[in-house]
Each structure stands twice: as C-alpha cells, then as structure tokens.
Symmetry: C2
Subunit: 365 residues, 2 copies
C-alpha cells in the first residue's frame, strides 16, 4: 500500500523519451533528501505494470518488469479511475504522442490527477480540447505542464508563460522549431559552401535518425504548425487548429499520393529542381533559405514555411539540428529574447518532462 504522504507517479509510454525519462526519474528518486515519490503505474500500448494496492514498482528495473508483465493495459478511462482512487496525490506522465491519451486529459485533470507531458497533441488539437484541459485544471487545482511539447528541454514554454504572466506584451515569436528542418536546411543551404542536393539531404537525415520513420511527417510542416499553435495560444491567440493558418508543405503535389515513405524517397530526386530554384533565388539576394514559423500577435497571424534570411542572421547561422526561438516583446524592445539549442532527442526531451515533474512536486507536495 502506498503511504499517503508519497506522491504517486504513473507513466504511459516507454519508447525513446519514456526510457530516458525513467532513467532521470531513477536518479531523482535516489537523491538525498529523497523526494517523496513512488512509481505506481507504467504501460506501453501492449503491456502494463501496476499493483491493485498502489504499492511501489521498483523504478530501477521497471522496464524489465514491464516487459515480463502479462497484464494488458486497461482502457484509458479505467486507468484514470484507478489513479483517481489512489490514497495519495498522483502525477500522470504521458510520454506518448497519442491523440487518444491527449483526449483523456480533461477527465484526468477533473479527477485531480496532475499531468506532465511532451505530447503536443493535447495542446495543438482543437481549441475546444485546449479550453477543456485548462478549465478542468483550474477547477480541480491539478497541474498541467508541457515544456517539452515545443523545443524539447529548451525553456520555451516556461519563458513565454513568464513573459505573459508578468504582464509583458509579446508582439512576435519567430524561429526554427524543428530539429529535422534545421538539419536539412543547414546542410542543403549552408551559410558557407554549396550544400547538397535536396533529396540527398533528406535521405541522409533519415539515415542519421533525424527524421520520422516516414520523412513526409516532417516535410509536411504539421509538426512545426502544432508547435506554433501551442505558442500562439499561450500568447493569447485563440488559434482554432494547426491547419487553420498557412502551412507550406515541402512534399511536392505530385508525390502526395505516394504509398510509402520509401516510395516517396525514391521519387523525390525528380523534384530537386524546385528546391534548387528556391536556393538560387535566395543566393541571388545574398541570403539563405530556411523553414521557419512565425506568430505576429498584434496582427493575429500565424504562418509556417520557407523564408529567406541574411547569412549573418541568427536563424541562418544555426548549427546541426538546433532550434532557435526569438521572443519580441514590449519590454525587450528591438533585440528579442532568444533561446537556442537542441530541440529534439530523447534525453533533452525527457529533461523537460522531468523538470516539469519537479515543478509539480514542489507545488502539490
């Protein structure tokens, strides 16, 4: 049986981010003085591990024990019932990118479960879901944190919240929000040197693990559109959905009907000239092309797509798969507050989740 002054942690998802999170949770739990937390639930889409009396799961070998478990995961509403009936406060850590789990948040928060998650779906889906989530949290007092839903562990969401909460007026947010797009354009159109063929760079990025299994899931711009939706809403714009503003897809129209990512990659070289032309046009103007998102708060305009930047511009000078996010505000004037660094990867994404968890623990303990 869990003791009442412990905070119970329930984890859904044990993939790339989930594994890194568990390792960080292990280190957190082992710290002296020990935070009063214990793991009571962990699941993947196929298996679950939990005890009816909420007694602690050993974090040190939770993954092995989960793999050996013969329990299938209960339905998501059953999971909420189980956690809401616990004799202690509960933080639900959603390390999936599942829409189904995201849609459960209002119910979970209503029942008093706090949530920390890198899952973008809940905050970038319908505006109704966004409102349901924050109104449920506000009514029950449960907390909901999602730093890693934009820029992984980079302090993007927390900084925007601090700006807004302290009464600054955010006028514009601009940046490179995708590690994949960053890597692709830093290689395809570097500030120095010639850069490679577009289709070659896409293939290289996939080989290096910088793209989704199907690279079209990066190239369609939706991932960036989701992140922009979240930031725009935090800045006060009631953005209806990630498809309610202009998003430029880098998938040629003729390849939209490809049956698989491999089929797409095979046919992509035939369309390299389009991207070559864009690169040449930028070069003629002494610039480079980058895939960026921007939010003009005053004009209520959000957009995602290709833009040209001077070679000396911080967005052009980005390295590797780094993200960069610039906040233009009334207080910061002409020179924006800038945050830059790796915006993807298991460890840094889990870092955002763990630091959110630490914040929630400090508030509900």
């Amino acid at each position: 049986m869990a003791s009442a002054n412990q905070i119970l942690i329930a984890v859904i998802g044990a993939g790339g981010v989930g594994k890194c999170f568990l390792s960080q949770l292990q280190a957190l739990a082992a710290r002296k003085p020990s935070p009063k937390l214990s793991l009571c639930y962990i699941s993947t889409s196929r298996k679950a591990l939990y005890n009816d009396d909420y007694s602690p799961i050993n974090i040190d070998n939770a993954l092995d024990a989960l793999a050996a478990s013969s329990k299938a995961p209960p339905s998501l509403t059953k999971v909420v019932e189980y956690l809401a009936a616990a004799p202690a406060k509960v933080v639900l850590v959603d390390n999936t990118s599942s829409q189904d789990v995201a849609e459960l948040y209002p119910l979970a928060l209503e029942r008093g479960l706090s949530i920390v998650t890198p899952n973008k779906k809940a905050f970038s889906g319908s505006y109704q879901l966004w409102q349901d989530i924050f109104s449920a949290a506000s009514t029950s007092g449960a907390k909901v944190y999602h730093e890693s839903s934009v820029g992984a562990g980079l302090p993007v969401i927390s900084t925007l919240k601090d700006l807004v909460d302290t009464g600054d007026s955010v006028t514009k947010i601009e940046g490179v929000f995708s590690g994949t797009m960053s890597f692709l354009f830093n290689s395809f159109a570097p500030t120095e040197g010639k850069g490679g063929q577009w289709s070659d760079e896409v293939k290289k990025a996939k080989t290096l693990g910088y793209t989704e299994p199907d690279p079209r899931d990066d190239l369609n711009g939706l991932d960036v559109a989701r992140k922009l939706t979240i930031l725009a809403r935090l800045a006060g714009l009631p953005v209806e959905s990630p498809t309610s503003f202009p998003v430029q897809s880098l998938i040629p129209k003729e390849l939209e009907s490809c049956t698989s990512g491999d089929d797409f990659l095979e046919k992509l070289p035939a369309f390299d000239q389009q991207m070559e032309d864009t690169k040449a046009e930028a070069e003629k103007a002494g610039k480079v092309v980058r895939f960026v998102g921007s939010i003009d708060v005053a004009a209520n305009k959000v957009k995602v797509g290709l833009e040209m930047f001077d070679r000396a511009h911080p967005i052009a000078a980005l390295k590797g798969s780094d993200n960069i996010i610039s906040f233009y505000t009334k207080r910061y004037g002409n020179n924006p507050l800038i945050i830059q660094g790796a915006g993807a990867g298991g460890d840094v994404t889990a870092m955002g989740v763990t630091s959110d968890l630490i914040k929630v623990l400090s508030q509900i303990a």
Copy 2:
C-alpha cells in the same frame, strides 16, 4: 488585519527596479481570479510604510503613500520580527543591492519568510553566507528565488537549476554577463566597421545611462565576477568569493587612485592606446575582443576578462547591451543551450522578480 489565507508581500527598496516591480505587482494583484496576496510593508532606506495589524497597503498608490509616510524604516532585524509574527505566510521582496539586507536572509528564512530578489550580494558574497541561506531555507521550508541576480529577467538561473536538478552534467558556462560591457565592446570593436576610441565609448555609455554612476564599478569586472560566482556555485563549484578567481579589471593601474568617477573619465583618454593595441591584435587574427566570463566546471576554473572571438561567433555578433549565456552540457553535446537578450534594465529585472514571486506563490499558497 490581514486574512490568514492571504499571502503577505513585504518590499524593501523602491528605486529603479522597485518601482517597476510595484507596477507589475499591481497588475498581478488586479488579475482575475485574483491571487490571494496583499502588500503589508514597503520601505526605502529613509522611509517605511506598514500597519501594526498587517492590514493591506493599497498597491495602486503605495509609492505616494510611502513618500508621504513619516515613519523611518525599523532596523532590519525588527522588520524580520514584524514579518515573522504575521498571521499569514510572507514573501520578502528585496529590490535593493544592499549587503546589509543580504546578510539578513538566513535569519529571515529561518523564521519562515520566503525571499525573492535581484540582489546579487547574498549569493555572491562569502561561501558561508551562501550555505547559511540554503540551509536555513531547507530547514524551514521557506523559498528563496533570485532569477534576476544574473541576466535580469532572462531565464538563466532557472535553466541552470533545471539542468542540474534533472541530472545533466554541466561542463562549461560561457558568455557576456554585463549589459555595460556588451554595449562598450559592441561599439568599441564592432564586427563591421572601425568602432570608436575606448574612452569616448565609456563616456557615451555613461551618458546613455548604461553604466553605474561611477563607471569604474562596471570596468573593474566585479559585477561579472559576482554573476559567475553565483552560476559556478549552482553548477556545484564551492567558489569562495568573487575575488577568489582571476578577474581582469579594465581600470588602468595608474587610475586606480582616482578620487572620483569624473576624475577617472578625465584621465582615461591617456590610456586609450592600451585598448587600441588589444583591438588591433584581435583584428590581426581576424577576430574581435569581448569581455566575457567562463566557468570550466570539470577543471574547477572560473575567470573573467578579455578574450578574442571569430566575427561569426555568437558572442562577437551580440547587439546593443544584450547578454548571452551558453551552457555546455553532456546532454546538449557540442552545440550549447544558449540564452540571449537584454540583461539589464528596470522592467526586465523586475520581470525576473515578479516571475519568481509567482513561482513562490504557487508553492506556498
């Protein structure tokens, strides 16, 4: 009489930062749903305003009422007594840069008062004071936050804490930590163009209000050394004091005995050649000179002074009076997590204080 579920705010200092903070506090208190806070004490070095029964001071005209008050501020220990006897939780906001107030923190925390402050002195003085502060907070459970002690409102301290708390290994911290030094070197040794004479730039910076009243207080490097001391300690190095590591002063030896800032400024042009030589040496190497601080965590080395950077380096490309802070960590690899933007000014400094206050309120409410 204050109601017991209100949190009482006591403010010491009503100068540049203090005034901006009060205006942000006013906006915070007016928000719906209203946070349960009330102002119970405010003082400058000459005047104080408070009621024996802790009944609220109207925030909207607190400055006028303070100016009209006939009360002198009680001794600092009396202030702590007064606040510790309050029938509610108290947050003490220290908007001074006073060493005396800083030395009061251990007592205040011990008595259960939480503290938020931009005052560097408490965290960059003796290592003993640092230890006393955090051990008092840990024993009583009172909170102590000081985001604006480095980089004003930029999320520098919170980011470093998140990195450390989630188990990342910070290997190096490097950057431009002084708005004054940033402005001086961006004008004296710009990446494009020739730049002005050193003494002219110092005079210009003073006229524009970018320096302390006596510019030697910026040029001696101690302000940067204090900030480095704070970050190094947060990264785990037991730095004894801001004078226990190499700090390069830009005050020529011959001018150390000047009787005033004006005397210093008058004699400075005679020493322009030294800085001119440094600039020329950097130029010969295709670089520019900047005044930076760095912490090599593994080697336990902290230093402050002039260094040369490639023109394309983010530190060289800084604009205006911006700060830039790069965190090199195990998780972030070769490309550091970078935070950049205005690191000085009343509004942005107060923003750090207000966001700290919001964090404390969420934890003690």
